[in-house]
């Protein structure tokens, strides 16, 4: 049959393509090209994500590193007793009458005098513009110092104070002569003067510890703004979150993993936990506002409310991580413990839990890291407010005092108009990322050192 058919239609038989393993046919070329293209898409996708990450980190670091340096003015000041203590009796109450304006006048005059003494020409710069070099923060600090130590009156001390934001920006390269020409707050002549003062060592940049310790400052004094209150607020919140979330999360996970019967109630709990993990964080902010502040009347902007909200928010992730850690403990351990007469509860608390501890701890640290960077819910409970006073110590009810948090400080600085605050904002991000990196490294080390594979 076959032979007959083939002999009948010899012309229809396709001429065999001259294919070889060594030369590619057109189709094969096309397919290989498609293969190469497909692979290139993958590489491109990875390159895109990683390069965006690199650009982001690079821009933030290059913007933010300068927040750790600060231009400061150093010059001798004779504390004129007549001006600062008009009555001359060194009474604190009397000396309080002299406001920062009095100190500002004194500092301005002394700076001018010092410039003259050092032979630095202030040509083209009015006295008022020279005075504008001194940050508004400096007179306030000097006043506090004099009120603390009245015996300084009459002496000549060396004052070291911040220079104003624009001068600071010029020294760091953020403000240039071109931008200064367009800026009403600073003139090119002032920048020339700044150059001369820098040559003489009056104007200098130093490492800015104040950035880490000072409280926030108002819009006019970006140079004095610091992260002090935000760091304390974040530290309080993280401590409270650990205290609340760890027992709750571990207890819930133990129940769900070891004791819960399979029924509708536990199913409901499980569905709830997985759904809560996917609820947008801002919804937790609304919850905190409605329940903890409006209903329970906890004080606004307090670390306690922030911690409660963050606890509820991280609880699902911690439960999921803890359950995975408990599940990873092999059943043979449980069987052995039960076999020698331990109760179910003893098995869990004496054997399963210690073996799952490294995994639980790793999960908790990672959950805390995400809570540390969370911003949106904290905005709603009022932590974005301007807080210039440090909260009290943890035992004096400091968790009820108004405070801010690191990521919220990033946001509130970013939304101010002066570009000097963008630099601070990026600097705050560097601090935040430093904490996050540390926490993640600790988690990785814990996992490497203690995690057991069964």
């Amino acid at each position: 049959m076959t032979d007959a058919t083939s002999s009948q239609v010899p012309a229809a038989a396709p001429s065999p393509a001259r294919s070889s393993l060594l030369t590619q046919s057109a189709l094969m070329k096309k397919r290989n090209a498609a293969e190469a293209r497909f692979k290139a898409y993958g590489v491109a996708a990875i390159c895109v994500s990683l390069s965006v990450l690199a650009i982001m980190l690079w821009t933030i670091f290059s913007d933010g590193v300068s927040a750790f340096k600060q231009a400061s003015l150093t010059f001798p000041v004779t504390l004129d007793a007549d001006a600062l203590d008009p009555k001359g009796n060194r009474e604190r109450a009397e000396m309080m009458r002299v406001t920062t304006i009095g100190y500002t006048k004194l500092l301005n005059a002394q700076l001018l005098a010092h410039l003259e003494a050092r032979g630095i020409s202030t040509e083209g710069v009015s006295d008022k513009d020279v005075a504008a070099f001194i940050s508004r923060d400096t007179p306030a600090r000097l006043r506090d110092m004099v009120l603390e130590q009245p015996e300084l009156l009459g002496q000549t001390i060396t004052v070291e104070g911040f220079a104003t934001g624009r001068i600071d920006g010029y020294i760091k390269g953020r403000v240039t002569r071109d931008t200064a020409a367009l800026d009403t707050n600073i003139s090119v002549a002032q920048l020339d003067l700044a150059d001369r003062m820098q040559d003489e060592g009056i104007l200098d940049t130093k490492f800015n510890w104040g950035f880490l310790t000072n409280p926030d400052a108002s819009d006019q004094r970006p140079e004095a703004a610091g992260l002090g209150v935000a760091l304390i607020g974040s530290a309080y919140m993280m401590a409270l979150v650990v205290i609340m979330v760890l027992p709750l999360g571990v207890a819930a996970s133990i129940y769900l993993e070891e004791f819960a019967p399979r029924n509708r109630w536990t199913d409901l709990i499980e569905v709830n936990i997985s759904n809560l993990a996917a609820v947008p964080s801002i919804v937790y902010g609304i919850l905190g506002l409605a329940i903890f502040i409006n209903f329970a009347k906890f004080p606004q902007s307090s670390p306690l409310v922030g911690a409660l909200v963050l606890t509820l928010m991280t609880l699902p992730t911690i439960i999921i991580a803890t359950r995975a850690a408990i599940r990873a403990v092999p059943p043979s351990i449980r069987d052995a413990a039960l076999g020698v007469g331990a109760s179910k509860m003893q098995t869990v608390f004496h054997h399963v839990l210690p073996l799952a501890a490294p995994g639980i701890l790793t999960g908790t640290i990672l959950g805390l890291a995400s809570a540390l960077g969370e911003t949106a819910p904290l905005l709603l409970i009022g932590m974005v407010a301007f807080v210039a006073n440090y909260p009290a110590g943890p035992l004096d009810g400091g968790v009820l005092d108004p405070a801010t948090a690191l990521p919220v400080q990033v946001y509130s600085w970013a939304s101010r108009s002066d570009p000097a605050f963008i630099e601070r904002s990026a600097g705050a991000i560097i601090v935040l990322l430093a904490f996050l990196v540390t926490m993640n490294i600790i988690a990785i080390i814990l996992r490497r050192r203690f995690e057991r594979r069964w």
């Binding site: 397919r31 498609a34 293969e35 293209r37 497909f38 692979k39 898409y41 993958g42 590489v43 996708a45 990875i46 994500s49 965006v52 990450l53 650009i55 982001m56 821009t59 933030i60 913007d63 709750l248 207890a251 819930a252 133990i254 129940y255 004791f259 709990i269 709830n272 936990i273 997985s274 759904n275 809560l276 996917a278 609820v279 947008p280 964080s281 801002i282 919804v283 937790y284 609304i286 919850l287 409605a290 509820l312 609880l315 439960i319 179910k344 995400s370 960077g373 911003t375 949106a376 709603l380 990521p407 990033v410 946001y411 970013a414 939304s415 990026a426 991000i429 935040l432 990322l433 996050l436």
Partner: protein, 486 residues
């Protein structure tokens, strides 16, 4: 006796229960622990729990009940119609409490004798000034009714505090005595203690449900209040968003919803292809070494706080898009735009999609790949025609989850999308989203009695419903269309 001190006393009683319970158990078997049913520690814990827990429960109930009872008692001082109106009653009670606290402070500071505080009347001169002198600031002059009510409040509160202390201590001592009485060698202390621990564990696991209930209740009740002040139909279908605190605001959801969906769409256009190709490359092409380097690096993106992305959008991406795309093409002049926020949210979502898709692709059995290669397919053909169809439900689920994250994202849109509520197609225009408006309506000092602030709760409810719906839908898709490989 203050509550704090009471709790300390309870703690001391618990410690006593701990020591006595153990001692009694050991004494009952003459120190031979082998004759005890449970380990001695369990008897100790039993004593502590019985002394502490019931008393603590009574104390908690009392603390909740006392203000409600006092409030009812004070109803006589005020006209009935004032007291029946909810908001007026709350204000009145706040006044009463403030005056009562003021009197307490005045007594503590020595400005008033305790007798004076009980008998002072409005006729004796301005109560406000006298309280002001000791640092208690009152908003308005104290009315006679409020002053009488406050004095009665103080009396009731001090009786209440005394009763609270006595009842709590009696319960604690009774619990302790009961624990000691039933403690002997045969008493099953371990079972009792373990039952309590189990109760605590169950309680902890219901927090998840309580949180959900809290979220729903808090938003629902405020949303209902909002709908009583502003027609809910206008909220759902209104085309303009123009809140004004002088009244006459238009609070339409549609422009916000449009902004949210538009930005999320841009984000998904960025994130889905990039994330999928990343996952495919990592799962199918990358060598184990490359994978072990690249995968953590991609996941670093997911670990960076969103406020950092927000600053990146504000400082870098926004101005870049404005100067290189929007202004040259004449499409817009604003740094914050749909594109800015969308691109940055897209980048944020890449690791989310890629790690989910990676897991799903890895779950496709090797035999399917081998079959495809055996038929002569190239790698990319295998991926496109075998692996992706097999993994499709999971990938769709991942995409839906990512979309729900994009919709709920707050910081990036607050810093990068703008604040103008518009219905516009131009992606280089500033637009706003639901989350941005929740933040802007609720930050700052707000009173929760105007539709302009309450609308934030309705917006939150909308957001919650949308994201929850997407999540449930995603899970449903995964479950329904999942291929079973056995």
């Amino acid at each position: 006796m203050s509550v704090f001190f009471l709790i300390i006393v309870l703690g001391v009683l618990a410690i006593a229960g701990f020591v006595l319970g153990r001692g009694r158990a050991l004494a009952s078997v003459q120190g031979n622990t082998r004759r005890l049913h449970s380990l001695p520690g369990y008897y100790a814990w039993h004593g502590a729990i019985m002394a502490f827990l019931p008393a603590m429960a009574v104390l908690t109930l009392w603390l909740i009940a006392q203000p409600l009872i006092i409030e009812r008692q004070l109803a006589d001082y005020f006209p009935a119609e004032q007291f029946e109106n909810d908001s007026q009653r709350i204000l009145l009670m706040a006044d009463v409490r403030r005056v009562a606290e003021g009197l307490d402070v005045a007594v503590a500071a020595g400005a008033l004798t305790p007798q004076d505080a009980e008998t002072i009347t409005v006729a004796d001169g301005s109560v406000r000034e006298r309280l002001g002198a000791v640092g208690v600031a009152l908003g308005a002059e104290v009315t006679p009714e409020v002053l009488d009510a406050a004095q009665s409040y103080r009396a009731l509160a001090s009786t209440g505090a005394l009763g609270r202390a006595i009842v709590t201590l009696i319960v604690a001592l009774a619990g302790l005595a009961y624990a000691l009485r039933i403690t002997n060698g045969d008493f099953r202390a371990r079972n009792r203690v373990e039952a309590v621990i189990l109760g605590v564990l169950i309680l902890a696991s219901t927090i998840a449900i309580l949180t959900t209930i809290g979220i729903v209740m808090s938003m629902l009740s405020e949303t209902i209040r909002f709908s009583s002040m502003y027609p809910f139909k206008d909220f759902l279908f209104g085309l303009t968003w123009q809140p004004s605190f002088q009244g006459g605001s238009e609070l339409g959801l549609i422009p916000l919803l449009w902004g949210t969906l538009y930005i999320s769409l841009v984000a998904m256009i960025v994130a889905v292809p990039t994330g999928l190709f990343t996952a495919i490359y990592l799962a199918e092409y990358a060598s184990p070494r490359v994978r072990s380097i690249i995968k953590p690096l991609i996941e670093v993106i997911a670990g960076i706080p969103t406020v950092v992305f927000g600053l990146f959008a504000l400082v870098t991406v926004g101005p870049f898009l404005r100067d290189w795309f929007a202004v040259p093409t004449g499409l817009g002049s604003s740094g914050s735009s749909v594109m800015t926020a969308g691109l940055v949210i897209g980048v944020l979502n890449i690791p989310f999609i890629s790690s989910l898709a990676d897991d799903i692709i890895n779950a496709v059995p090797q035999s399917l790949r081998d079959g495809s290669y055996g038929l002569g397919a190239t790698k990319s053909e295998t991926v496109r025609q075998v692996i992706l169809p097999a993994a499709l439900p999971g990938i769709v689920g991942a995409i839906l989850l990512a979309a729900s994250r994009a919709i709920g994202e707050t910081m990036i849109v607050t810093m990068g999308a703008g604040a103008a509520a518009k219905l516009d197609l131009n992606p280089f225009e500033a637009m706003t989203t639901i989350t941005v408006k929740i933040v802007s309506q609720l930050t700052g000092d707000t009173e929760f009695n105007s539709p302009e602030t309450l609308v934030a709760f309705a917006l939150g409810m909308t957001l919650f419903v949308i994201t929850l719906g997407l999540n449930i839908f995603a899970l449903w898709v995964v479950r329904k269309y999942r291929e079973q490989y056995e």
